[in-house]
């Protein structure tokens, strides 16, 4: 599964990661797995303002992701 990172999260994770995924898991589980893999700065994913999307839709932490999904984590967004 390909995971993209945006904004400040890129400082910890880079722009994208390929993560092997055997079973589907929730967005919350994915956050914790990534934090375990990236102890340096990975805890930024625990910020509740960091939103996840799958495809073109924002999703909640209980959403299940599966291999083949395009998942992104977005630092707090700000326009204007």
């Amino acid at each position: 599964m390909k995971i993209f990172f945006f904004g400040k999260l890129r400082d910890a994770f880079g722009s994208e990661l390929e993560v092997p995924l055997a079973d589907s898991l929730s967005v919350a589980d994915l956050r914790h797995r990534l934090i375990a893999d990236f102890p340096e700065g990975g805890e930024a994913l625990l910020d509740q303002r960091v939103r996840a999307y799958v495809g073109a839709s924002l999703v909640s932490d209980i959403h299940k992701v599966a291999a083949g999904d395009e998942v992104g984590f977005m630092s707090p967004v700000s326009g204007g």
Binding site: K8, L58, V77, S78, G79, G80
Partner: protein, 152 residues
């Protein structure tokens, strides 16, 4: 008439956007505009050489369209324009143009205010100030979230 939401790399021309809005506003009583420009200094007063606005290939325009459409519906205004830049922006350059036309002024003022509060906290951009002292990500402040929450 309707919603005109655009995302662009090139400079925003507020005069040209205002002229288009006024053409559309013919027959209506009110046109309100807001232009947000890049600040030359950080909150701490340090010089800013460049603001970089990163965006998402699909979600950014989608967020602009949704916010503009919500503003049009909520205040029953006849037209809303939102033009937002992405990429490298120099201090003083416009970042965003919001224009609203409606029959009466109150709805136009409120719709512009609402659209800006939502753009500040929900438009899908990541903003970085770059200057002699390095680069710094800019995230919404508590005041920005409080401004948006006024509309809930």
């Amino acid at each position: 008439m309707g919603v005109d939401a655009r995302l662009q790399l090139e400079r925003v021309d507020p005069s040209a956007e205002l002229a288009k809005l006024l053409d559309r506003a013919a027959g209506y009583g009110a046109a309100v505009t807001f232009v947000g420009t890049a600040r030359p200094r950080t909150k701490e007063g340090k010089p800013v050489e460049l603001i970089v606005l990163e965006h998402h290939s699909r979600l950014t325009l989608q967020s602009l369209e949704e916010i503009a459409a919500d503003g049009a519906t909520r205040f029953s205004v006849d037209h809303i324009t939102v033009v937002h830049r992405y990429g490298d922006i120099l201090p003083g350059e416009p970042i965003v143009f919001v224009g609203v036309c409606s029959l009466h002024r109150r709805a136009a003022f409120e719709a512009a205010d609402y659209v800006m509060d939502r753009l500040k906290t929900e438009a899908v951009f990541w903003k970085r100030e770059e200057g002699p002292s390095g680069a710094n990500w800019i995230e919404p402040t508590e005041a920005d979230y409080a401004d948006r929450d006024r509309w809930e």
